[in-house]
């Protein structure tokens, strides 16, 4: 399944990119995170993050579909 992942802030720095299209067998955002964390060595644990799919907050266990855009959201610090 082909997906888009966008990276922000610390995740962007650790992934070394702002976005990428990738082919993955991960059925859920949780599994996708585990896969990418193994690849990039993210220092944040999944429990510290939220996730968005197609620009809306999502459960980690949602079923991903081809073409989905996924964003892992580290602790926010606006203001």
């Amino acid at each position: 399944m082909r997906l888009k992942v966008q990276y922000y802030a610390l995740m962007r720095e650790q992934a070394g990119r702002s976005e990428e299209w990738l082919e993955t067998p991960a059925p859920t955002p949780a599994k996708l995170f585990d896969e990418l964390s193994a690849r990039y060595g993210f220092t944040l644990a999944r429990e510290q993050l939220k996730v968005a799919v197609n620009s809306e907050f999502s459960d980690w266990t949602r079923a991903l579909a081809a073409g989905d855009a996924v964003v892992f959201i580290p602790p926010v610090a606006g203001g």
Partner: protein, 144 residues
């Protein structure tokens, strides 16, 4: 309405958007870049937003404030990009018939924006290093 801007926030223009002849009170909040945070000397900040979701979540927060408190208008503008000391990072304005609700709604909005809107800031320190606020422990594998 919730807006992101890479330009300095024009508070005069923002204020005019929520003026209302039926409103007797107006409360605004401005968040400024401090010269220190958690004991470290800060020289500048970079703000980064996941724009599409930030605007959606910001609009939801403003909608909640308008539903919860009987206020007239509410507006929030958040800056993104590189900011220097004393620059304004965020502005919230609320106009209301009575002042109590304006204070409560303004506080609700800034509290929720800080906790929920996907915006991040990286602090640059006098010492030359930098760090993502709220991610310090996570950023250094040695500390994990």
């Amino acid at each position: 309405m919730f807006r992101l801007t890479p330009q300095p926030i024009d508070t005069g223009a923002a204020r005019r958007e929520i003026l209302d002849a039926g409103a007797g009170g107006y409360v605004s909040f401005e968040g400024w870049v401090r010269d220190h945070n958690e004991g470290r000397q800060v020289t500048r900040l970079e703000y980064e937003a996941f724009a599409e979701l930030a605007v959606k979540e910001g609009e939801r927060i403003l909608g909640e404030a308008l539903a919860r408190y009987p206020v007239k208008h509410a507006l929030c503008v958040h800056r993104v990009g590189s900011l220097g000391l004393a620059d304004m990072a965020v502005w919230v304005g609320v106009s209301s018939e009575h002042r109590g609700e304006a204070f409560e709604a303004c506080r609700y909005i800034i509290d929720e924006v800080k906790h929920r809107v996907p915006i991040w800031k990286k602090e640059h320190y006098v010492s030359g290093d930098s760090g993502w606020v709220n991610c310090e422990r996570c950023a250094a594998p040695a500390h994990a």
